[in-house]
């Protein structure tokens, strides 16, 4: 083997020695999930104020999932809050919540909201894994202080965005 050929083979090996670690770095770069690992609906509170629909903060509002184990309270707001997470059931296509507003020590008003949807599992990415996408079929509500409930996009996925709007009556 001539020295010329030996130099070429050596340069090839050297080039490989540079390329291989570089490719390993490129391939094994870790990345994290920027969204939720599970789909978690986020509801925002709104009301008509001075002729405009505005985001509002609510206190003294208790939210309970109907059929939750031990009737556990989802949210017991003693402080002001303008949003709340409303996790959906994954074993059926319907979830109901009881919204309890306390008028005073002894009196409370109950409103009920029912979400009906279809669950579609989707592979989001290697980092975020598999989560449900909830395609909203119907939202119904009944009571005194909730004016309406909407899902503007029509579906809820694992993006950490506000995807439910709850509008309250405002009395002057």
């Amino acid at each position: 083997m001539t020295s010329y050929r030996i130099r070429h083979i050596a340069s090839m090996i050297l080039a490989l020695a540079v390329v291989m670690p570089l490719s390993f770095i490129i391939v094994s770069c870790d990345s994290t999930c920027d969204d939720n690992r599970n789909t978690l609906p986020l509801a925002g509170f709104y009301a008509m104020v001075e002729g405009k629909m505005q985001s509002v903060s609510v206190d003294s509002l208790q939210i309970v999932g109907l059929g939750a184990p031990g009737d556990s309270i989802l949210s017991d707001m003693h402080s002001m809050a303008s949003t709340v997470h409303l996790p959906f059931r994954i074993d059926q296509d319907e979830t109901a919540y009881d919204f309890i507003a306390r008028k005073d020590k002894n009196t409370s008003i109950h409103d009920k909201v029912i979400f009906r949807y279809s669950r579609v599992p989707q592979f989001v990415s290697q980092e975020c894994g598999v989560s449900y996408r909830f395609n909203i079929n119907q939202i119904s509500w009944e009571g005194a202080f909730i004016d309406s409930v909407t899902c503007p996009k029509g579906y809820i996925d694992n993006h950490p965005l506000e995807n439910i709007h709850i509008y309250f009556h405002v009395t002057k």
Partner: protein, 287 residues
């Protein structure tokens, strides 16, 4: 025309001066008159003038170039005195034309980069056979056909991703920068278009809800997809021994179309991989 007339005039003047300056019996041979105004003058001595210069023919070099005097510069302006060029520029401009024949050989190779990468923990592989034809050792139309598969259960994740061995194809062209050099060595860039149709499974999926105290496990199987993509690559190929060569390439991928099923996009595409960059290492045999 004017240049010719001027040259003749100057020649005549020079001739006149020389005639008046030389001793009787001398003669001057004008062997050539050129349009570019240079004169080749070879003095000749006569036997009847023994006092004149006598050229001894012992050291005649038949390969010696004739002495050339330049009387005008390159713009056609007369020089103050004739310029004698001792050296002529013999360097010729490199011709852009190819050196090798139109068909300069065929090469068949195999890409085995992912065999090495799996030893470093990569969870997917692409292996392909490739063939190209050398056109003037300059352009190399190439076809690559192979199989890709994947099997990965990422840490802290709720699934196992599997792609069955699936076929892919790439067609493209390489451009060799060293097309006039020894064909045993190539430095090249290239383009590829790739296509693959495949199925993948996502198994052992676990989804839970802490508030509702619920956990579900299920599989998503036989999800069909296809993908179309482009590649830009750069690489090096070196002959090792006889007709056997080794080479490597860095490739940048960009997808044109990837099937989305119920919001799910495949993580691994056979032939493409998982990201925008990939490395190929190929062993090849030339014919």
């Amino acid at each position: 025309m004017r240049v010719k007339v001027l040259a003749i005039l100057i020649g005549l003047i020079f001739f006149t001066i020389n005639i008046s300056a030389q001793e009787p019996g001398d003669s001057i041979n004008i062997t050539e008159t050129r349009a570019d105004s240079t004169l080749v003058i070879v003095p000749k001595s006569t036997a009847t003038n023994p006092s004149g210069p006598i050229i001894n023919p012992v050291d005649i070099d038949e390969g010696q170039r004739p002495v050339i005097l330049h009387y005008y510069d390159k713009h056609g302006n007369p020089l103050p005195s004739p310029v004698l060029f001792l050296e002529e520029d013999t360097v010729k401009k490199a011709s852009p034309k190819p050196v090798f024949p139109a068909y300069a050989g065929t090469e068949i190779g195999v890409n085995f980069a992912d065999l090495i990468m799996m030893a470093f923990g990569q969870k997917y592989s692409n292996y392909d056979l490739r063939a190209n034809v050398s056109i003037y050792n300059w352009f190399f139309p190439t076809i690559e056909c192979g199989l890709g598969f994947a099997n990965d259960t990422p840490d802290n994740q709720n699934y196992t991703y599997k792609t069955k061995p699936s076929f892919y194809t790439k067609i493209g062209l390489d451009y060799n920068f060293l097309y006039k050099s020894n064909p045993k060595y190539r430095l090249f860039i290239g383009l590829r278009g790739g296509w693959s149709t495949f199925k993948y499974d996502i198994e052992n999926i676990t989804i839970s809800s802490d508030y509702w105290d619920q956990t579900q496990q299920f599989n998503l199987e036989n999800i069909s997809a296809n993908a179309l993509w482009g590649e830009v690559l750069a690489g090096l190929r070196v002959n090792i021994i006889s007709r056997f060569s080794l080479g490597w390439e860095i490739r940048w991928h960009f997808p044109f179309h990837v099937t989305e099923t119920n919001g799910s996009k495949p993580w691994f595409i056979p032939g493409y991989g998982t990201g925008n960059f990939a490395i190929s290492i190929a062993a090849s045999w030339s014919f």
